[in-house]
């Protein structure tokens, strides 16, 4: 582990909120990865006689309107929601960083064109742009992922361009260029590693919002469609039964909360430990 990483991670473990974030994130990630092993039931198996029950010995978190086991559905729901969140953020990180770093590196007209385009995309309110994209492509899980991804591209492009510009103009990069290192080598070896921590912070925070945006889109009927369990869609499916059996709604709401909160706390603490102004005192 390099020194930079140690400096990032150690304060994280010392901060109770960071620790909580790390714990929740690991919990959610493990739940998603091991869902087939952990889930006590098939998440789509129906048992009408046991429907809308509260927590019992056989169904720890109760059941939904078809008598499907809520715990199993939440575990598989983590899987689907994280899949959408990760793919959307991956799109945003890869495309955004590529645009930001190349703009800084190439400069000139290309730089101005790219950044202006980012300005335009940033001019749209986030959910509105996502809704607009889905309105064109039709509602589905992957279109939601694509839409959320596009929405976050400018964030990463802007975030990486500044530091990349600074790094590019440092002596050692200039020196590397002078001794004939190729563009790819300079970007991969010198520029990107220096941006890693900024990207890391923004990625965790974006994951947190992506989970929320996905659930909002599912609520509006524009995201994941049934019978696939996604957290947002489970929550909106359970809402009509709130008075009859609050459990479905409460637990799936809590599941979204836990997933989103974990990433947010993690990102928030990372940002603190990485922000030189806030460190020390």
């Amino acid at each position: 582990m390099s020194l930079a990483w140690r400096r990032t991670l150690l304060p994280l473990l010392r901060n109770p909120l960071g620790l909580l974030g790390l714990f929740l994130t690991l919990l959610v990630l493990l739940g998603a990865l091991l869902a087939p092993l952990l889930a006590p039931y098939d998440p789509v198996r129906q048992d009408i006689l046991a429907r809308l029950s509260g927590p019992t010995g056989s169904h720890w978190l109760g059941t939904d309107q078809f008598g499907r086991d809520l715990l199993s559905r939440i575990l598989f729901g983590f899987r689907n929601s994280l899949l959408v969140a990760f793919s959307s953020v991956l799109i945003a990180v890869v495309v955004g960083t590529l645009l930001g770093v190349s703009a800084a590196y190439v400069g000139g007209r290309y730089d101005r064109a790219v950044m202006r385009l980012m300005d335009v995309l940033l001019a749209f309110p986030i959910i509105l742009l996502a809704i607009g994209i889905i309105a064109m492509l039709g509602p589905s899980q992957w279109n939601a992922a694509l839409a959320i991804g596009v929405v976050y591209i400018p964030t990463f492009a802007r975030l990486t361009r500044g530091p990349a510009l600074v790094v590019r103009n440092t002596d050692y990069v200039q020196a590397a260029v002078a001794i004939g290192a190729g563009n790819r080598r300079v970007i991969l070896r010198h520029i990107l590693p220096n941006l890693a921590s900024v990207i890391l912070v923004q990625t965790t925070l974006a994951l947190s919002t992506a989970i929320l945006v996905e659930s909002s889109l599912a609520f509006l009927g524009l995201g994941t469609q049934p019978p696939n369990p996604s957290l947002g869609q489970m929550l909106s499916e359970g809402r009509p039964y709130l008075t009859l059996s609050p459990w479905t709604s409460v637990f799936s709401g809590l599941a979204i909360l836990v997933a989103s909160l974990g990433f947010n706390l993690l990102g928030d603490t990372l940002r603190d430990t990485l922000d030189p102004r806030l460190r020390g005192h």
Binding site: Q46, F66, P139, Q225, P226, Y241, T243
Partner: protein
């Protein structure tokens, strides 16, 4: 013990006193919670319930359909049919005025029927009255309709044709935005996505009706919001709600549920022009695999009945007549094997996403089918996309809901006849075609019965539609909403008899 008896007696007396002493009172605005905003209010082109629950108060037809699904006089006072069944002569009610004060005449009715028939109008009702040859107003109070063939459901279909003022339409008024008819309520105001306000038609021809001063349709898309809105008294009436919402409202204080049997039914449609559903055995196997009573329990919370091809009580054959309604997964597998699919079949199922009951039913059916080797890949589509795929016959199977019709021909002919306007399954059977034509051109009800019994047998197990469930039609209202009666077609004509107890 005594005390309890006394209390019960008092409650009983109170309840009796309540119902005896309460005569309808005039006045008040009924706050209605509607689930969707209509896209337009021209009843000749509308297709959505969201439009009809509003236009049904503004317009009337020559006839109207009562709660027993029989046609009865409305703007027509009486009628006679020639012995060959080709000429209908209507005596038009006099003294009826439009909301703008102008008198309604037979000419307006002829104009309205012709507006529906005109291809430029693009009316979905046009194909239903395609046997009409000519419409003439012979005087201000007499209308003659000529048919090219006898057409048994004529009087029922006429109930669906709203009568507009010829002058008003020809003056260029936008009928989608400013509707005007002869009904108990007149259009007042429409704030999109917020509310539609109708006010009492003081000149209404039914004496003393309506009781209410106004109807306000509040547009509330979220079911949980409608639920709280009714419970808290913000809204007083929720027409035609989902069974799941009805179940949650059942225990709410000061709220009552008003029920009728719904003519609308959930269904699985199969594409008869694609493998594997081109094979009648496969369609029969699918019927064997479905457990309809389980769907009634799971989706309708017990409030519904397994559906045969006809839901009309007076026409439906007993389900004992359909062997495939005895759920049997092994029999289904056997039939699949006979059809050459011993290892089961994989296929897609598109689902109309705007209807919660259908989405729920599709999930239950998917599970049931899986046990008999039918592996359905369920895809829930947004309404516009669904209808597009449906119309273009671009599906293996679909799950949807159909509104019913008060006459068997109204549903069966357009759905199952070769080239029928909603035969998206590309189903074609000479036997069925022959029976369908016989059924619609035979006027005597007694003679029609055996024809439709045969048709139901032909269609129940091997037809392109597996009919699932006729639900219970629920409306929910505050306790003080009185006088409303539901109709299986989901029309709300009895809002004119509805009043608010103080």
């Amino acid at each position: 013990m005594n005390g309890r008896w006394f209390g019960l007696l008092a409650a009983l007396l109170l309840a009796m006193g309540w119902s005896l002493a309460q005569n309808p009172v005039r006045g008040g605005t009924l706050q209605i919670g509607a689930d969707a905003s209509p896209s337009g209010l021209d009843p000749h082109v509308a297709t959505a319930f969201a439009s009809f629950i509003v236009t049904g108060q503004i317009y009337e037809g020559l006839t109207e359909i009562d709660e027993r699904l029989r046609p009865r006089p409305a703007l027509a006072e009486s009628w006679s049919v020639s012995s060959d069944g080709l000429t209908y002569t209507f005596r038009i009610r006099s003294g009826v005025t439009f909301h703008d004060g102008k008198a309604m005449t037979a000419g307006d009715i002829a104009f309205s029927i012709n507006r529906v028939r005109d291809t430029k109008t693009g009316s979905p009702i046009a194909s239903r009255i395609n046997l009409v040859k000519d419409v003439k107003a012979t005087s201000a109070t007499q209308l003659v309709v000529e048919l090219s063939q006898p057409f048994a459901p004529m009087l029922i279909e006429l109930a669906g044709i709203a009568v507009m003022s010829e002058d008003y339409v020809k003056a260029g008024n936008d009928m989608q935005r400013r509707p005007m008819g002869t009904g108990p309520f007149a259009f007042k105001e429409w704030v999109p996505d917020t509310y539609i306000l109708l006010e009492r038609n003081a000149r209404y021809w039914r004496q003393g009706r309506p009781y209410l001063d106004a109807l306000r349709y509040n547009i509330v898309p979220d079911p949980a919001t409608r639920q709280v809105g009714l419970a808290s008294g913000t809204y007083q009436f929720l027409p035609n709600i989902d069974p799941s919402l009805a179940v949650t409202l059942r225990t709410t204080p000061n709220v009552k549920l008003i029920t009728a049997q719904d003519l609308a039914y959930t269904l699985i449609g199969m594409n008869a022009s694609r493998k594997p559903f081109d094979n009648p055995r496969v369609r029969e196997a699918l019927n064997y695999a479905i457990n309809r009573s389980q769907i009634v329990q799971a989706v309708y919370f017990g409030n519904g009945a397994p559906a045969g091809p006809l839901g009309l009580r007076s026409w439906a054959s007993p389900q004992g007549a359909f062997p495939c309604y005895n759920t049997n997964a092994n029999k289904a597998k056997e039939l699949l094997a006979q059809a050459g699919y011993a290892n089961g079949v994989d296929f897609g199922m598109i689902v109309i996403g705007s209807n919660k009951t259908v989405v729920d039913a599709a999930q239950v059916v998917q599970q049931q089918l899986a046990q008999a080797g039918f592996r359905a890949k369920v895809e829930v589509l947004e309404q516009g996309k669904f209808i597009q795929e449906w119309r273009n016959s671009n599906f293996d199977t679909f799950a949807s809901i159909n509104g019913g019709n008060a006459d068997p021909d109204g549903y069966l002919f357009r759905t199952f006849s070769t080239g029928g306007s909603t035969n998206v399954f590309k189903y074609s059977s000479p036997t069925v075609d022959r029976l369908l034509n016989q059924g619609r051109t035979t006027v005597s009800e007694e003679a029609r019965r055996p024809i439709y019994a045969r048709l139901q047998l032909e269609l129940a197990c091997q037809g392109p539609i597996a009919h699932l469930v006729y639900g219970t039609l629920f409306s929910a209202a505050r306790e003080n909403v009185q006088g409303f009666k539901p109709i299986p077609t989901r029309s709300l004509i009895y809002l004119r008899d509805t009043w608010l107890a103080r």
